[in-house]
Amino acid sequence: MSDLSAFSLQGITKEFPGVRALEDASLKVRPGEVHGLVGENGAGKSTVIKVLAGIYRPEAGNITIGTQTLSPATPESVHAAGVRFIHQELHLVPHFTITESVFLGQERVGRFGLDTAGMRADAEAFLRDMLGVTLPGNRLIRDLGTAERKLVQIARALIDGAAKVVVFDEPTAPLASDEVDTVMRAIRRLKEQGIAILYVSHYLSEITDICDRVTVFRQGKTVGVFDDITDASGSDLVYAMVGRDIADMFPKKGTRQTGTGFAIDGLSDGKTFEGISISVGKGEILGIAGLIGSGREELIDTIYGLTKAGSGSFTFEGQPLQIKSAAQAVRAGIVLVPRDRRHDGLVLPMTVAENTTLATLERNATFGLENRRAVSNSTEAQIKALDIRPPNPNAVTRLLSGGNQQKVVLARWMAKSARVFIFDEPTVGVDVGAKAEIYQLIEDLAAGGACVIVSSSDPVELQGVCDRIAVMMRGAIIAELPTEGLSVDTLVAATTGAVDARELADAS
């Protein structure tokens, strides 16, 4: 029996220029089981899904679905073999009805045009019998909750009745916690009908809750297959995911004086997070951890005034601050090194000097005209201080490496003598050597008395750089953990909900 598989990927190797995304990876899912797939960002989960979907063609390996081996697998042949994908994004037409959305691209035609009545009856019956919700087929998508939209998306993939394997990619990421149950119930019902399910998620609590077996990926390899998943399996999974080889690239944390600095009280945006209160002292580095969908990115945008806060207040050294726009934030001395610096942080066709002095033009200008010499002098000083390579103020920013681009963003804000630095994913797309330099810079800023906030999806980075880490989940801060004595495993466990973070905080 155990040799039977709904689908299996064996010995898959997939290379991209310069990177081996998958190396001899395998994944086997049995009929009628819910199989979890976990791994950190970059572990190869999405690559393996795209290999299964026939989007990527692997360099080596076999793809078997049911009893047929597909070589090569194409999106059409995979679909014909009964594999369906539920994408993370909810792509639906807002002003379409449930019926129209379920049958989008696979409409049925009767004698007088579309068979609306028949399609509606089938869509309603499918949602009721297979997914366990009663919804009128003529309701518009924009009047549905997020969980209901997810179910419509699932119904669209499965309505033809030919599905044997369903791949869920982060199905609960956009959902609030009470909505998760609705989707979980639907997945259980699908399993009862003998459909094999591959469940990909960052939320380990969901994985241990719903999965029968779990495969763990790390750095493109299958590092473990767990057969008996119970609620207690979370820590084993984390151990397998994180591994033990963390390079020693973090600076020594200096001892610093911390004073009252920047504080946020009761901040809400009315949608993605609520009641956030954090404070970061002068000379302190506060980390913010949280999965995609935890409200972390939205929180950072709101602190910087990019999106409007619904309620809440900001203070610096006890004095209230008004932050309604990014310009106000900068004037208050709060600066952001954005996550997508290529789009948000830099004017790429401009030179290093021009980028560095964008925020301080008024200082380098005489009667409104730019003083080129002053610009050049201040830039050269910054280039030296930050070790930007090449050390040429007239180099075009686009041609710099990721790490050096990051330094240019920093140089601009340092020229502005900011007091609060917010780093959003500071090392995404940055090579290992530059990473260490950026960590050193962050450490230096704090040592110089600045308040630093680092928001990151990399637990190793947070543990290594920060003094304290606030963990966000589903729009709230569920714990604040001091990093001293905190293991990366514990942090990942708290971020993914594998352990109750409140208990952790109490214990430490």
Binding site: H91, V93, G113, G270
Partner: protein
């Protein structure tokens, strides 16, 4: 956590139907001041007058449905009125040179469809914004038409064209019946076939349509060709209404087309541009134009009033969109 969704919906609905309320008020005001306005005779006149606008609105409706109703980045085709006068111009010139109507109509059809295909190629292949592309196309096509007609009036008295204006079948003007049939055919194609529903999906959410495997660009391109087709047919009604081709018709046609199509969204329960909405909008706009004339509003003021109405209608549609 959020504002009460039903109340928010209520406000959005109110904003969505405001254009209709404004129009209703204007019409009521007119009917009080022009006693003959609400007679059957006058309603027939309004319908006859609205026929060219109805046709181009049906075309624009299709493009907006396929490209999305964002006025700046979504689907829009401003060149349809120019296509209509091109169709009228070619037919008028060739008729005056003694060619049979079938040949004239055939040449005009080729010219109009190539405008539609060119629009489609520029927007979907090269990726230009529909607003700018079709505005440029409008200017260019009007220019071509000016060359063809030497920018002068050409009378047309071909019996078939005259019939569109004067012939009646069982008491109903032939023109109204013909346009009703064309509109019914386009309605069926857009709202009752797989193709039409897919086209609406492409405009409703490009991502959703693409992920469902729909050929979004091709559908969008096809809507431009359909639109040029409605412009082509409209050309004959322009000839019939004006007893020939005369320069300058396109400007008013364009104004009324944009106004009517976006006004039409207020008729739809989903608050989106639909075929019926666009057609009803066209009739309403014709009613207002005739109404203004019958209460003696200065022609120069009519332009200002129509312009303001466009701004209000489009602004309200943007507001209603933000609310959802």
């Amino acid at each position: 956590m959020q504002a009460d969704p039903t109340r928010k919906r209520g406000v959005t609905d109110l904003v969505g139907s405001l254009p209709l309320i404004i129009f209703a008020c204007v019409l009521i005001y007119i009917s009080f001041n022009a006693p003959n306005f609400l007679t059957l005779r006058n309603l027939e006149l309004i319908l006859m007058q609205s026929l060219p606008v109805v046709l181009v609105c049906a075309g624009l409706g299709a493009v907006v449905m396929a490209g999305g109703d964002d006025v700046v980045s979504g689907g829009i085709d401003l060149s349809i009125p120019a296509t209509a006068v091109l169709s009228a111009g070619i037919t008028a010139v060739m008729l005056s040179q003694g060619w049979p109507l079938a040949i004239c109509a055939g040449v005009a059809l080729l010219a109009c469809l190539s405008v539609g295909l060119l629009n489609a190629a520029l927007v979907t292949r090269i990726g230009m914004t529909p607003l700018l592309t079709t505005l440029a196309m409008f200017v260019a096509v009007v220019g071509v038409n000016n060359v063809i007609t030497s920018s002068r009036r050409i009378d047309v008295d071909h019996p078939w064209i005259v019939a569109l204006r004067a012939q009646e079948i069982a008491g109903v003007p032939l023109g109204i019946i013909a346009v009703a049939l064309v509109v019914a055919a386009i309605y069926f194609a857009l709202h009752r076939t797989r193709w039409g529903l897919n086209l609406q999906a492409a405009g409703g959410s490009r991502d959703a349509a693409e992920i469902s495997g729909l050929p979004v660009s091709r559908l969008f391109g096809q809507s431009f060709v359909l639109a040029s087709g409605t412009g082509y047919i409209c050309g004959f009604f322009v000839l019939a209404r004006g007893s020939g081709s005369s320069p300058g018709v396109q400007d008013n046609l364009m104004l009324e087309m944009v106004l009517a199509t976006f006004l039409g969204a207020a008729f739809s329960t989903r608050r989106v541009v639909t075929m019926w909405g666009a057609v009803l909008g066209a009739v309403l706009v014709a009613a207002i134009s005739i109404g203004f004339k019958s209460i003696g509003v200065n022609v120069f003021w009519t332009g200002l009033i129509k312009g303001s109405l466009i701004v209000i209608v489009v602004a309200l549609s943007a507001l209603a969109q933000r609310g959802r």
